[in-house]
Symmetry: C2
Subunit: 456 residues, 2 copies
């Protein structure tokens, strides 16, 4: 431990914190495919999007060329309240595993939203405020994103309307209360307050909701109320851009200590954390400056990269949003009811989809019982109760470290620990009681979902 | 902000972290009164106490003379997993309040136990392990201490039995699951597994339990099982000693930036956080080197310092523990049912009691609706959802900062932010729904409790 003098936790000085986000699209030879207007099938224009998103965010969404986009001072100041996040050297985990690998993780859970989501929430809320808007609408599943947005809006004095997937709303009343404490209004989705919600309820009155459906409601709410825009916590290019603060901080900290990762691992639902973490590293790879191995980890019960198709699809169930070209399971896909590990979005960030399609990134799927085993192990050894989402990355990081133990390789492994599991104790309880099971969708189920993909 | 160059958060370097605890008793002219053996009324001996506590912890409990007690390397290493905790300059709060005061808080909530309790849990578990014991028993109320102990024991591979106050066990199933995830067994108290539990249940079958009662059960469990000892999360001298890591880190960070606090504020239930935070500062005051104003903040519904008596009393309801001389409301005192803000112990650390008795420290009591108002305000402005306990300190820090606004004084205010409120959302929900009320015990109620004090 003392020979290399790397502390347990590396915190950057305030003066070393990022002043610009890293836009990895600038380095991509093949840019992510443009979003399509569902009415025309044509690429969306600036004007199409500004009905839904703030102007500045539309600019960021469409900007495939500018590598460094300055972080406004107000956002930098907000970041200082909970950032820099620590880059942790997992000495205890290494010792317990008996691996020659060196393991690092970037921990994004030390803020009240409990995850990295706050990085983009404050950016999106800031631009909305700056444009003179009254408020924003959004959807949330497990509640991490909704909590983050509520915090950002509470800070800026912006109205915040959250559509929360009904089963989460009922199973996670505490997340709801955090959002309310920050002044947000929270509506279970599908709801009777939107047309799309009423339509979905008419078709299936007992539905417990889905992210795709909540997105449709939030978009409708924003576009039918003066002074509101919709904001989204993952998938979009702009979100990956904001989340690059994770990767830039990580790279600065590693460079400072002369550490170069061999493998970079992240969980991937919509792709916001993984995309943010890898951005500056992927930039080096794309420019041919240095090679890294990137691994996206997803649930076996919602395997968009490993078993989905690369095609244009709707981002939402209600089909009111633009179409994105991405790895998808079909916008109607809903993971099996026993799935407790998060990362349940049917698609994947177009940026990550393109990188994966080009073979610049690997993907693995893992079953949730294996994920919770890793989570419990990690909690006891490293002292942090991880979010189920984050634990997907832990699982594969441990697997890779154990491979090193077999081969004797001293690889440097970096993974993203996106958040804490403090609001996921129902899932932990299931695991503690031995009641957790796995479900892997059959080829037939997936094919039936693919058959409903739009013909774009 | 830039003129004084103090960052939003001060993190010590690993090399600056404390290597010794600070024992404030060494500086006290009048030492805290000794614990008494309830059977004999005589001061407890080393041998009396070692039936209950580990040998090394008994030594620390009785050591009134050694100012610096080295922190074993293994504990220092564990501390590195979640410490140093940040000393935060509350720029946002200062600006929002429009106060000329400079506000700092030491934030102990960035670990899975959610509070400062882990600082003593790891120390007590370490000494138990080192003595070759099988395990430890303890009580927990809100669950912060039990979670901390479960984490420490999970890390060291020590058996951990937690008696959890029944109403908390039922209202806080998630805390219970965190403990279980770390491998602890959790029993609602009073229970049928101990004699004292059965006795209390026979007297009052519908009791929802109390800390004092859970202590009795845990002590009985430890003393009737080979290889077990009892550990306690507050009140005791040894706990204040371990918690001095908070104060030593704070003082090191402030000294580094040339900052001297005028007022130091902490919430006080049993006194572990406040005692730890003030230790090195109080040392200076006791030695006449520098003056500080210290303020202990307690709930108006459980006002041991402000309305209790300074007398020998039992530490537990079952009267199996030694007697301590302290400010107490009587060991049978239980706060009103509507009390949601924690800090519900009937007594107060003998060290703090003595300091308060000598006029070296002030105390204030605050009503819980005012506490939750401060909590919500703080959450929105500083981005951290505070524990109700910690919010007592926030309340008084805000009050003091507003006084400075009136007088124009540029005082430097330091307070302890002991933990997060992620597991206190029932209480927040009550507040969000406008259903929270206050209760201040009447003089008659307190007198009736005082009348039952033991005649020592």
């Amino acid at each position: 431990m003392t020979e290399n003098k790397i502390p347990y936790k590396i915190y950057l000085e305030e003066s070393e914190m990022p002043t610009a986000w890293y836009n990895v699209r600038a380095d991509m030879k093949t840019k992510p495919a443009p979003l399509l207007n569902p009415a025309t099938g044509e690429p969306v224009s600036f004007d199409d999007l500004r009905a839904v998103f703030c102007d500045e965010l539309v600019r960021q969404e469409l900007d495939n060329d500018t590598r460094y986009i300055p972080i406004p001072q107000e956002i930098q100041d907000f970041y200082k309240m909970y950032r820099p996040s620590p880059l942790v050297r997992a000495y205890c985990l290494e010792e317990k595993l008996g691996t020659p690998a060196k393991i690092y993780y970037k921990f994004e859970g030390n803020n009240t939203s409990g995850s990295h989501k706050l990085n983009s929430a404050i950016a999106q809320a800031y631009y909305a405020k700056n444009q003179g808007l009254k408020g924003v609408t959004t959807e949330t599943g497990a509640g991490q994103w909704g909590t983050a947005l509520a915090m950002a809006c509470g800070y800026l004095g912006l109205d915040c309307k959250v559509y929360m997937v009904k089963c989460s709303y009922e199973q996670k009343p505490f997340r709801r209360e955090v959002m309310r404490t920050y002044g947000a209004s929270v509506t279970p989705s599908p709801s009777m307050t939107t047309e799309v919600g009423r339509r979905i309820l008419a078709e299936d009155p007992d539905t417990t909701g889905s992210l795709g459906c909540a997105i449709s409601e939030a978009v409708e709410d924003a576009t039918t109320h003066e002074g509101y825009r919709y904001v989204l916590g993952s998938v979009l290019n702009q979100v990956l851009l904001h989340q690059s603060v994770i990767g830039v901080e990580t790279k600065t900290a590693m460079d400072k200590y002369g550490v170069v990762p061999d493998i970079i691992i992240g969980c991937a639902g919509g792709g916001s954390n993984l995309g943010g973490l890898i951005s500056p590293f992927m930039g080096e790879k794309l420019r041919g400056e240095r090679d890294y191995e990137f691994i996206a980890v997803e649930p076996a019960s919602c395997p968009s990269l490993t078993r989905g198709v690369f095609a244009y699809d709707f981002c939402d169930t209600g089909k009111v949003c633009p179409l994105a070209k991405m790895y998808t399971l079909g916008s109607g896909f809903i993971p099996a009811a026993n799935h407790a590990g998060g990362l349940r979005y049917h698609g994947m960030s177009p940026v990550l989809s393109e990188l994966y399609h080009e073979g610049l990134m690997e993907a693995r799927s893992v079953e949730q019982t294996k994920v919770f085993e890793a989570a419990e192990y990690f909690a006891r050894v490293e002292g942090i109760l991880p979010a189920p989402e984050s634990s997907h990355a832990i699982r594969v990081a441990i697997d890779e470290a154990l491979k090193c133990k077999e081969t004797g390789e001293e690889k440097t492994i970096l993974f993203g620990l996106t958040g804490t599991g403090y609001f996921d104790l129902y899932a932990y309880q299931k695991f503690n009681d031995g009641l957790m099971s796995d479900y892997i969708p059959t080829d037939e189920e997936l094919q039936s979902s693919f058959n409903k993909l739009p013909a774009f």
